[in-house]
Each structure stands twice: as structure tokens, then as C-alpha cells.
């Protein structure tokens, strides 16, 4: 009997042991990865939020090559070389197959998915008071606007795209079709504008190290001042762009103008010099160095693309710029792409070169000084895009650090001009692209905002008294406008000026497409003619085919690979 009891006790002991093992299970089977961060360990404090922002911009930097190729090679200023593969040729001739790696939308979504993830979690963090209002909005804006920028790019290139705003946390989210709504470009613009409208206007000012001391910090050899500050998206100019695409010209002009007048008399900001007469105003600061003018033996204008990040005058121009540092992934993809000592896959088109050569300078000579030896150069009879190569020396093949310039004052002024022209202020547009307000005193000071430009020079200078205009800065003669067809002609001239000023920087295809969409009813072959001109100028037999292809709007967009 005793024996039996003894047995029972022992058995129950064993059972208890087994049960206790099971109870402590949960902990035992929830092991945190040590070389990755599990989702529940993320977004606990502001440093995690900063890490999310930095991660997103780190990934974003990898889009540089794709951005330039899609936006320029599809346009009329960049052409393929004989080294280019079929896929690049497809981009150029607008005959893109779905398997074309350059046309894969996935890299954009790789950044977008991280934006979605961050935005959702920022909301949660704010709710749980892990972020205060400023911390929240600064980061939310940084990430949210970047996502808008990415979607704008997707809309431009693919037309209809799935507008995913959910972070897709696990595979179950994949089964929910509603998380992948496919929107047309128009619908997409509405969504993007709705999103940006919800941001409190105070957070449309650029972020500063004072507002986000943990986020805006020196990086590698990039000090805060004039450097780090500009790594993040330029906020108001994006809003201007969205409205410009949408056709809200006044709204667009307002946003642009606000940026053009960023400059203040308080120039002691830790983050950046925003000098009242020069910052983003396309000015001549009368410094004797003739800042950014295309004069002199050393053409200062081209320094925009090669100067150090902290260089003062360049920062009057640069608005959003990312270094492509040789020491950090993804490095600089442009050397291989453009350089004759690299792969030399793309080159300036004949058309682009002709455009510069046809310009008349103030001194009466031909050829725009923004062309040869500034935007491109001839090496052994072969044209090479110089904007990305100026610092590169083939004899030091590993010194590849360069920059990816995403927004600058020149573009800003051209966009403002485009908006102003369509808003009924073609005269203002004309002045901005010609020689500016510098000599115009207060003629335009009383125009309704945002089209008012006070260039009075006297004891109290008008803020625009140094503005020399895009062509003025390029020391070119002014262009004249056809009064009979003023709006269209001005727009055409703006587009021409864009080609001269911003070639190869990644604006061309969107600019042409935007105008083409705007004129779809009146001039359906606008885009086809523009792009076909590239092939005509190069004497390529593809011209006719490309013209035919682009006569159909369906072919304006790349095929969207769904899986």
C-alpha cells in the first residue's frame, strides 16, 4: 500500500515538473533576435523615431541612379551610348518591357514601406506620449513628405499606381486588397495634397537642429551648418510641385514664393545661412566673386554641382542635397554611369548640346556658358555629362564622393515662373527667366502676393534688388515673348530655359510630361514631338517610331510590375 502511495507521489512529481515546464513556456519560446530588432523593441523613444528617419533616408539615397535615369533618359537631353544595354535603350525609346530592371517600381516601395511603418508608429508614439508635438510633427513631416515625393515620382512614371499607406506588418496584410488601392495619377495627386494639407503650416518650415537636436546632428565629415540640414526633403517646394501638377497655380506659386523668401536678416542660424538678399533668390551678391555667374575663367555656376556642402555661395542655391560618399553605401553610382573611365552608359544628347550652342550671350557671342565645360564636356570627341563628374579624377579612381542635388533655387524660380505664367502673370515669369528684377526697382512691388517683387535699391533695399534672373546669371541675352500667344510662348520659353539650366539633374521628363498633360487637349503631340526631336537631332532612325509611340498617352507611362 505504502508502495503504491509512494509511486503516486513520484508520478505526480513528474507531472508537476512537466506542467511547470509548460507554464514557463511562453518566455522560453519568445526569443528576441540579437542581430536584428524585433518590432516590439522598436519605436520606444525619440531615438528610435530618429533611427527610423535615418534608415529611410539611408535607403532613399540608393534611388539616385534610378531617379536620374528615369527622369532624364526618358526625356530629350540624355541619350544612351553604344555601351548601354537594351534596358537603358528601352528607357530612351519608350519601349520598356516589364522585366526592365530600371523600370522596377520596387525600390521606390522599399522606401515607401518604411515611411508607412514610421508614420503609423509615430502616431502611436504620440498617442502614448513617447513623442511630444514638435518631435512628432518634425519627424512625421520629414517622412510623410518624402513619401509624397516618392509617390509623385511613381505617378509621373507609372501613371496608375497602388497607393499603399499601410506598413504591411505581416503576411496577413498581403491578403487584404484594400491595402493596395490602385489610383490614377489625378486621384493620387488629390490624395497627396490632402495628406500635405493636414500638416500644420508651422511644420512646413525646414527642420532645424534646435527643433530636433537628436535628429539633426553632424554626420561623418558633414557639420550641421549648411550641411546636414539639407539632407532632408525640402518641404514647401514639394507642396508647390504637387499643386503645380494638380493645376492649382496660385497655391503652387504661394508655396514657391514662401521658399524664395526664406532669407531673413537673421543669419546667425546654427543650421544655415539664410541671407535675406541671396538665399534662393538667384542673385548676384556683388561680392566680387560674382557668385554663381557663368563668367570668368573659372565658371562659378558649375560649382553648384561640385562645391563642398558647407560652401556658402553654393548654399544660396542648393535646397535639398544628399552626399554620395565613397565611404558609405550606396556610394556614388554616377561615376560609372556617366564617366568615360567608368561604364559610360549615357551621354548628353545631340539636342541638348545644340540647345546650348544656339544661345546668344550678353557679349553677343554664341554658346551658353552653362553648356560645354559646365554641364557637359567633350573628351576625345565624346560628350560626357560633367555635372556629376567635376570632382572626379580618373587618376584617383576611388575618390568618388559626389552629390545628388535634388532641389535648387534655379529650379524653384523656373517652377514659380511656370505657375505665375499659368496664373496670369506671364510678365513676372518672363522677368524671372530673363535678367531678373535687379534693375526694375519697385515696379512690381505692389503686385498682389505672391507675385510682388520689390527690387528697390536705396537706403532700405527691396528684398529682390539683387535678383538677376536665370538668363541673367547665365550672362545670356534675354529672350522675347510672343505677345499674341503669351501664355503658351512663355511656357515654351520656360521649358527651353529648364533644358539649359537643369539638364541631367532629373527634372526633364516630369517638366515635359506636366506640360504635355496640361496641353493634352490642345496639343496632343507635344510630348511626342519633344522626345522625337532628340532622335531627329541625333539622326537616329528611331525618331518616327518614338513619335508614333508617344502619340498615344498610354505609352507615356512605364509598365507597372505587380509581383
Amino acid at each position: 500500500m505504502n508502495r503504491t502511495i509512494y509511486c503516486i507521489i513520484k508520478r505526480s512529481l513528474v507531472l508537476t515538473l512537466g506542467m511547470s515546464l509548460l507554464v514557463s513556456c511562453k518566455k522560453m519560446f519568445d526569443i528576441k533576435p540579437e542581430d536584428a530588432l524585433e518590432s516590439k523593441q522598436m519605436y520606444r523613444n525619440v531615438y528610435d523615431a530618429d533611427a527610423a528617419v535615418l534608415g529611410i533616408y539611408g535607403k532613399f539615397a540608393g534611388l539616385a541612379e534610378r531617379y536620374v535615369l528615369l527622369n532624364e533618359l526618358r526625356g530629350d537631353l540624355l541619350d544612351v551610348t553604344s555601351n548601354a544595354d537594351t534596358y537603358l535603350k528601352q528607357l530612351s525609346t519608350h519601349e520598356v518591357a516589364e522585366d526592365n530592371p530600371y523600370a522596377d517600381p520596387r525600390p521606390f516601395y522599399e522606401v515607401i514601406i518604411n515611411c508607412n511603418d514610421a508614420l503609423k508608429n509615430f502616431d502611436i508614439m504620440r498617442k502614448e506620449n513617447r513623442l511630444d508635438n514638435t518631435q512628432y510633427y518634425q519627424r512625421y513631416t520629414e517622412v510623410g513628405l518624402l513619401r509624397c515625393w516618392l509617390y509623385l515620382q511613381l505617378g509621373i512614371h507609372y501613371g496608375s499606381v497602388p497607393y499603399v499607406t499601410d506598413p504591411i506588418e505581416n503576411v496577413n496584410d498581403l491578403k487584404d486588397e484594400s491595402k493596395f488601392p490602385k489610383l490614377t495619377f489625378e486621384q493620387l495627386l488629390d490624395k497627396l495634397i490632402a495628406f500635405t494639407d493636414a500638416i500644420p503650416p508651422v511644420y512646413l518650415n525646414q527642420n532645424t537642429s534646435a527643433a530636433s537636436p537628436t535628429l539633426i546632428m553632424p554626420m561623418n565629415n558633414y557639420p550641421v551648418k549648411d550641411g546636414v540640414f539639407k539632407f532632408f526633403i525640402h518641404r514647401r517646394s514639394l507642396l508647390g510641385d504637387l499643386h503645380l501638377w494638380k493645376g492649382n497655380y496660385l497655391k503652387a506659386a504661394e508655396y514657391y514664393k514662401a521658399v524664395m523668401e526664406t532669407g531673413t536678416t537673421l543669419t546667425s542660424s546654427a543650421d544655415q545661412n539664410v541671407e535675406i538678399y541671396d538665399t534662393y533668390r538667384v542673385s548676384n551678391d556683388n561680392s566680387g566673386r560674382n557668385t554663381l555667374l557663368t563668367i570668368g575663367t573659372v565658371n562659378p555656376w558649375s560649382a553648384i554641382f561640385s562645391n563642398d556642402l558647407a560652401e556658402k555661395e553654393s548654399n544660396f542655391e542648393r535646397m535639398w542635397i544628399l552626399p554620395l560618399d565613397k565611404d558609405f553605401a550606396p556610394g556614388n553610382p554616377f561615376i560609372k554611369l556617366f564617366s568615360l573611365s567608368g561604364n559610360y552608359l549615357v551621354k548628353p544628347s545631340e539636342l541638348a548640346i545644340e540647345k546650348w550652342q544656339d544661345q546668344v550671350r550678353l557679349d553677343g557671342g554664341l554658346t551658353d556658358r552653362r553648356g560645354q565645360n559646365a554641364s557637359y564636356r567633350m573628351v576625345g570627341g565624346q560628350p560626357e555629362v560633367l555635372k556629376y563628374l567635376k570632382k572626379f579624377d580618373p587618376l584617383s579612381p576611388f575618390e568618388t564622393t559626389g552629390t545628388w542635388l535634388l532641389y535648387r533655387a534655379g529650379v524653384l524660380h523656373l517652377r514659380f515662373a511656370e505657375a505665375a505664367n499659368r496664373a496670369g502673370y506671364s510678365d513676372i515669369a518672363g522677368i524671372l527667366i530673363n535678367d531678373g528684377f535687379a534693375l526694375l526697382g519697385n515696379t512690381y512691388a505692389e503686385y498682389p502676393a505672391p507675385f510682388d517683387f520689390n527690387a528697390h535699391k536705396g537706403t532700405v533695399n527691396g528684398q529682390w534688388y539683387r535678383n538677376i534672373g536665370i538668363r541673367g546669371r547665365a550672362v545670356n541675352q534675354n529672350v522675347s515673348f510672343d505677345a499674341a500667344n503669351l501664355e503658351i510662348d512663355t511656357e515654351n520659353k520656360i521649358l527651353e530655359e529648364e533644358a539649359l539650366e537643369t539638364a541631367f539633374e532629373g527634372y526633364r521628363w516630369p517638366d515635359l510630361l506636366r506640360v504635355a498633360l496640361r496641353r493634352e487637349a490642345s496639343d496632343p503631340n507635344f510630348l511626342a514631338d519633344k522626345i522625337a526631336a532628340k532622335f531627329d537631332a541625333a539622326g537616329s532612325p528611331d525618331a518616327g517610331e518614338v513619335r508614333t509611340r508617344l502619340s498615344s498617352k498610354a505609352n507615356w507611362y512605364l509598365p507597372f510590375k505587380w509581383k
Binding site: C7, K10, R11, V14, L17, L21, L22, V23, C25, K26, M28, F29, I31, P33, E34, D35, A36, L37, E38, M42, D48, D50, A51, A52, L54, G55, I56, Y57, G58, K59, A61, D85, T86, Y87, Y109, E110, I112, I113, N114, P162, V164, I168, E169, N170, V171, N172, L174, F180, M219, N220, F231, P323, D325, K326, D327, G331, F398, F560, W562, K563
Partner: protein, 1063 residues
Amino acid sequence: MYILKRSVKKLLISGLVFSAGSAPLLAQQADTLERNPVVKNAQTIQISGTVTEASTGRPLPGINVTVSGFSAALTDENGNYKINVPHQAGVILFSGSGYQLKEAALKGRTTINMALYEDTFSSVYDKAALPHGTMLKNRIPYSVVSVSTNGAWNRPMETPDSYLQGKAAGLDVIRRSGTSDIGADMYLRGYNSIYGAKQPLIVVDGVIYDNNSYGSSLIAGHQNNPLANIDLKDIDNITLIKDGSSTYGTRGGNGVLLITTGRAKDVATRLDFAAYGGYNFNISPLPVMQADNYRIYLSDILKTRGLTDAQIQAQPYMSDEAGPDYYTFHQNTGWQNTVSNSSASQNYYLKVTGGDDIATYALSLGLLDDQGIIRNTGLTRYQTRFNGNLNLSAKLKANVNLAFTRSEQDLNHQGLNSMLSPVYLSLTKAPFLSPNEVSETGVRSPNLSDVDVFGISNPAVVVSQNLQAANSSYRFAGSFGFNYLLSKKMSLNTIAGVTFNKVRENSFIPNLGITSDTLATAIGYNQAAASVQRLFSVYNDTWLSYNHNLNANNNLSANAGVRFNSSDAEYDSGLSYNTASDDFITLGGGQSALRTVGGSLGKWNWLNTYLNVNYSAQNKYFITFDIAADASSRFGTEIPDALSIGGVNFAILPSVAASWLVSSEDFMADMPFIESLKLRASYGLAGNDEIGNYSAKTYYTSQNFLGRFGLVRGNIGNPELKWETNTRFNAGIDAAFLKERLSLSVDFYRNQISDMIIYEPVYTSTGFRYAVTNSGGMRNTGVELAVNGRLLNRENLKWDMGLVMASNKNRITRLPDNADLVTDFGGAYILSRNGEAANLFYGYQTNGVYASDAEAAASGLLNKTADGNYVPFSGGDIRFVDLNHDDIIDENDRKVIGNPNPKLTGGYSNRLTYKRWGLDALFTFSVGNDIYNGVRASLESMSGVQNQTENVMNRWRANGQVTDVPKAVWGDPMRNSRFSDRWIEDGSYLRLRSLSVTYNVPLRSQFIRNATVYALAENLLTFSRYLGYDPEFNANSGVFSRGVDIGMNPQFKSMQLGVRIGL
């Protein structure tokens, strides 16, 4: 002390009742039993008979004759015995030292004569080690193979995995390469997973043996083989459970390999010593061009590069004018012999066993030294093992196992297109160059040559001491087990083990003689690297055993327990470039800006609760039921339909197996030619938990942004991620005829793998390429056959012949969206398609070479080149077949051009003993598998300055020339050498895998117990049509690398002479 001894005695008696031991102890105890018979039924039946030796017919005295739990007897000097049995349906067990164990069913008979074979005879009554003790094979209802190694004294250079080749039907064993100790990949019944584990679970002395390597090797093509840390001579028995038992739950999906290491068989002190010396034969070279033909080829290829005749003539290596470089470029070097050589091996082994009533021990020490056939490579392995058994009290037994192994190995890089692989370089290096610098007058300097004029490394440097590729590893595995007898029927058992494994690699690639690396920010002239792989694992298995004889002929036993395994793996690596000179070979000597570090960490826990019930009725009906409930840190948290306890999901995997020993039925009594006939069937689930440590979780990985670190999403987590389930059905027959002279075992199986892990493509707009999901399915069906026959059975001459073979058919049954999966490996494209085998070669079909430009033009075909252009073919290009008739040759013209899975694999063994002589021959074979000869593809691609095979001398050179070798064009722009049926070869082979001749030296000494002399050979003969070095290789254990020859170190012949002395 007295009490202790008595209890030991008691324990032994009860132990005897439960197990069927074969030690001499049994005889002494048998008397005790007979004096105190456990009489349960007064109506006992007396059985009598004679036991004889099977080979001679001589009567055998002193053989134990027992009826389990009832009675026992010994045979007298005439081999006669008499024994009482309780029931007519019972069985009698015969055993004796030096003889096999054998069971006889009564079947209503009262006279049972028994012929016994020697103990090394392969029999249906062999013991097989199962997770909870040993069992006679004829009583096991599921499919097992038990391999008694008998010390494997005649296979000293094998690792346990390679030893199993040709031994077990259905276990396809492929040796990875010719590197020493590299071992083999074992696939039981085909691939049971695409991305998960594919190799059987290995359990050594009750403890799970982690056989994975954690982290990739710094040395290309190498992988660490943990199983090599077990010396084969330490192993007593290897049992492979193919099927039918789900006791190991989610880790048993690939079968279970139970390894039992040697213990003391009795208390007498015994010492075994063995020493071997061997010779490894250099491989025979492949036919590559010599200097004269190579130069002609070179000038042809340079011409297609756009060089003029004059420019080619001006090249230093083309000039026949006397000059300072004349001798540098006018050699004729057989490079293959500069990188490989014949070499020596040696092996020493010492084992001591012994003890007393309370404790027995077995201690072994070993040293292996094998130089391999690549120059300056070699392995030194030191190994120790201690196994002890302790009888602590009448009820408490303990055992301890400790093993420590240390290996130091100099390796070489392997693989195609490598600037470091001696095998590849030796085939492609220009033969007119010399390994050493040559003076103006043709005198050869001792200095090795630098990178050549083409920028190709010097193979002699790659195998010199200047290049370091060292691997040193150690593994400690220790376990301690208790067995406590709670009652006569019940015992509590536990075994706890720790494993610590560390693999350190050091690599240095010198500047001199090796092509430099172009890095992102600098030229890497030389490279120093180091890495450490570490595994720490804790294991415990605790279970309750119950064993109850319901009556004389019905037995119920059960085991219920918990296994827990916690593992922690770490991998760290560092890489630096440009040390001050080739004499500074440490990681710290490199340029700091070029230093990179990497690594990974992995931790996981696994819990397996199990219940095992065995029931045997009438000693002829056997049924086993197993069920396992597994939890793992790898499983998702939201698995639908899974059992969840306290938020933890469990995999419930049951299995049932039943067998019917037909031969024990009374009606079989009149069919004496049927010794044994068993029908069995099993059905059950097993799982595979190698689904990634953290794939179920959503996690973030670090992302640099100009030197600051951010975090980005690393994956799309899958909280529903679960184990792969293998639903296995098996039906089989085990039979023995003619008093076991002939025995055979046949199995049919069908393994359906569901919830198979797939990297499922997801929407582009997720930003990810794939999510890890359980969305695949696969099926393996097949037949296995094992036949053993004793052809000659005389006193002095015995001949055993064995054949095992298996045929497996693999089919994918489910893929997401039924989309084809095309994977590339080593230049080959591998197709996985629903309804087909998982890994088919998917390439272009060819039909000779266009004899002329006109003929090519007439075909009207356009070729899609690598950069996407469409170019017409011309004379001398390969005639690719336009399968879809769109006049374009592109990836849509690919088709299945080969299947790397063999139709039939197996082994054929012969064992001949004549007096004191023994001859063992094992043949292995593989039939019907295709190989992509990547080495040949590279050696006949004719695209650059690399030397090629002699076959390219038949290359197309002029219009009208009819040949099957295309023209030589720089860079091969038309991709004539693309993955096509040109490189697919029949990989079938038959190999004399091992041959041994042994001689037992007659001894008069009292001191020496026995002495044996061995003459051994491995890989002596290989019959194959394969054009590469050798048809057996496995670049990695993955599904997609099967049959893709990327130039691993080839297998080679070796011979050893050895002696074994027992004291």
C-alpha cells in the same frame, strides 16, 4: 557494500528480464532464474531441441535459451536443451557469446532445432537501438536499418556520414568533395524540404547532435562538418529510423539517425590499439591543351578581340625571338600536377575498456593525419572519448559520455572562376608559363612567379605556404544520464547534455602571385581574414518508462517524456586588406579603412513532449503509437488551428505503426523455408523546424546613412509561420528464407510534405521581394530493397553478399500561384515546377554548330544577347533550338534538359572469409542522374585567355567546317557556352568504394589477445561516363546545387596498411 552488491545483482536480474542481453553474465544468472521460475501458469509446455552452428552443423554447448520473464536454460555439450514455456504462442530466445541472437516462435511445435550464425552475421533478429532502448528488428513495426559497425576497423579514413554510403536502402549519401573529413550529405528518401533542413536528425547516445555549421566559411567551397568529430571506431551501432515514429516531432521529418558509441561490454580490462599508414593517389589530370595548341587558341581568341596579327605577334608570349622573356613564355607546364600530389595519411587509435560491478568505462584516444591530394593541405584530428556506466544503487544507474575533438586543417579554395581555387586555376592557367620565375638564360628561380601577363593568379602560389586557409575547430560534447527504477514496471530516466563547438578560420591571400581585388574604395592587394563560428547547446530528455507483461505473451510498454533543447549560435568574421607586406598576415595588420566585420547571432529553443506506446500481442502482432507535441521559438504566434497552451503553439504529430509477424503464425509451421516473414505498415506525421530562427517575427535591420545608423524593416513577418509537415506512409515486408541464408526487406513509401516553406513572391508595392510562407508542397514516393544472402556457408569459407537499392521520385505538389521557380546556381538554372521534381536543369537545347554563315542566316533566328540585344547567328555559333518558334532564341526557349536526381542508388557488398582471411568489398552506385559539368562548360567556353580542354582544338574556324565545337570568340557575345544540354552529362557511376583484406594473425602469446593486419583501399575503381574528375560531389546540401559540378576537390583513390592489436 554487501547490500550494494546484492542490489546490483537484483538489478541485473530484473534487467535481464526486460532486455535480451548477450553477455556471458547471462549464463550465470540463468541458473538463478530456473531455480525460481516465475510460474504463472501451471500448464507449462516443455520444448526441446538442438542448437547447432549454422556453418558447420556442429552442436553448440552453452547457448542461452530463454523465455522472457519465465524460464531459461543452457544447451549441454551436445547442443541439446529443454525448456518450459508458458504458452504455445510464445517465443524462445537463443543467444551465446560469439553467436547471433535469434528468436524462435513455437507455432505449436515442441521440438525446435536452431542453427546459429556468428555474431557479425546480418540478420532479421539484429538489435536496433531505438530512442528508448534496444529492440530486436523483427519486433519493430516500422522501417529501420541497423548498421553494426563492428568497429569499422577497416574504414579508418571515413567519417560516420560517408561510412553510411551504400549501407542503408533509401539513405542517399553523397560525399561533398575530396577534402579530408568533409563528410557527406545524407538524404533520406529524397529531399523533404526545399529551404528547410534536409538531413536526418542525428542523436548520439540519446543527445541530439547538432550537425549544422553556423556561418559561412572564409574558404570558398568549404563547409565545416561537425559529424567528423565522432571517430567511427568509437561507434557501435547506427540505427536509421526511416519512418513510422514521430517521437522526435518537428525534428524528425528527415528521419532519425541514432548513433550509439562504444561502451565496455564486460568488466575485464581490454585494450585495443590500431595503427594505419596510407597513401593517397594523385588524381589523373583532365586533358587540357599543352603550350603549342594553347598558343594557337590564344592567337585566335585575341584576333576576335580586335587585335591585328601584328599586335598579336608583338605580344611577349607570341614572340619566338630570343630575348629576356623568351624562357618566361616558353615553358610547357602541366599545372594540374603542380597543385595536386600523391600524399600520405596515418591514423592511430587506442581504446581501453573495463571496470567492475559498479562502474565500467570505455576510453579512447585517436589521432588522424591526412594530407589530401591538394598540395600543402592536410588535416590533423585529435579525438578522445570517455563513456562510463555506473550502478549507483539497486535502483539507480547512471551513465556519462564525454567527447572532445580537436581538428586542425589546411584547406584550399574551391569553385569556378576563382582566382584562388587551385583546381580551377590549374586547368585554366596558360601552360607556357612557369610556376617559378625564369631567368633570361632559362634558369628556374626558387621564387614563385607573380600574377601573369593576363592577370591570372599563379596556381603554385595558391597551394604554397604563402596563402593561408586554415581551419581549426574543437567540439566538446558531454552528457550525463540517470535511470531510476521506480517500480518493477516503471522507471524514470533523464539525460542532460551540453555541446560546445567552435570553429576558427584564418585566411591570408598574399599579393604576390594572386590577382588583386578591386574594392569600392581601393585596390586590395592582399587580404587577411578571420572568423569564428560558435555553438553552445543544452539538451535534456526526461522520460518515464513503463513496461508491463499483461500475460505471458502480451506486453505493453510506454514512454512519456519531455525533450528540451536550447541552442545559441554565433558567427563573427573580420576582413582586412593591404597589410604592409605578405609577411604580415594578421587581421590587425590591414589598412584600417578597408577593414570590415560581420557576423550573426542565433538563439532558439525547442520543446518536445512525447508519448510512445508499444503493444505486442502473441509475439506476432506489434503496434506502436507515438505522439509528439512540439513548441519552438521559431514558430509563429498566430498559427491557425494549432494547439495553443499559454500563448505557445504546439505542433501535434502522431504516428502509428503496426506489424504482423506472419511467420509466427501456427499455419506457417509447415513452411520451414520461411524463417521469418513480417508485414508492416505505418502512417504518421513528422515535422521540420528549420524554418529560420526569426522568420515568424517582423523585425528591423540596421541601415547606414552617412555613418549614422538607422533602422529599416527587415522583412514581412509571418506570425502564422509553422513547421513543415511530412505525412509519411510506409508499407513493407521483412523476410528471411532458408534459415536466414537469404533475407530481404522491401519498402514502399509515400511522403507528402505539406506546409513547405517557400520564399513566396509578394506584390512589388510591398517593397519586399518575398515573404516566408508555408505555401509549398512536395511528395516523395519510392521503393527500397535490401537483400542479404549467404552464398557460401562452410566452416572455413563464408561468402555474404548484400545489395541495397532505392528508387525515389520527387514531385512538387504545390507552389504559390503555381508559378515556376527558377533558381541559378553555379551557372546552372534550376526549375521547380508543380508536378515535377524540385530541381530540374532548365536550359537550352542545342543541335550542333552552324557550319557556315549562310546556314546560320538561313535559320532566320535572332539571339538575345546578355545585354538584351537581338543579334543574328553566324557560322560557328551553336544551333540553339527555337522551341517556341518565335525565331528568337531567348529565355523562353529553355526546357528541362536534365534531372540531377538519380533513378536508383545503393550499395552492393561482398564479404568473403576464408580461415583467417577476410575480404570486404563495397560497391556503391548511382544510376540515371544527370550532372551539369560546370567545369567543362568553363573549359570549353572559349571566351578568354583561360586554357581549355583539348576538345576545343576541333573548334569551328572556317565556313563550311562541320564540327560540334563552336568558334572561339572573345567574351562569347553570342553566349554559345550558356547553360545548355551541351554540358549535361550522365552522372551514373559504379564504384568499388572500399576494399579490405584482413588477416587475423595466429597468436600463441597470453599477453596479446588478438592481432589483425589490414590492407585497405578506397575509391579503387570507378566506372562512369562522366567527363569531369569524378561524378560524386555536392557543393552544398541545398536542393538546387545537386549535380552541379563547380569544381570541388575531386575524390581520389587511397590505400592503407594497418594493424590492430588487442590486449
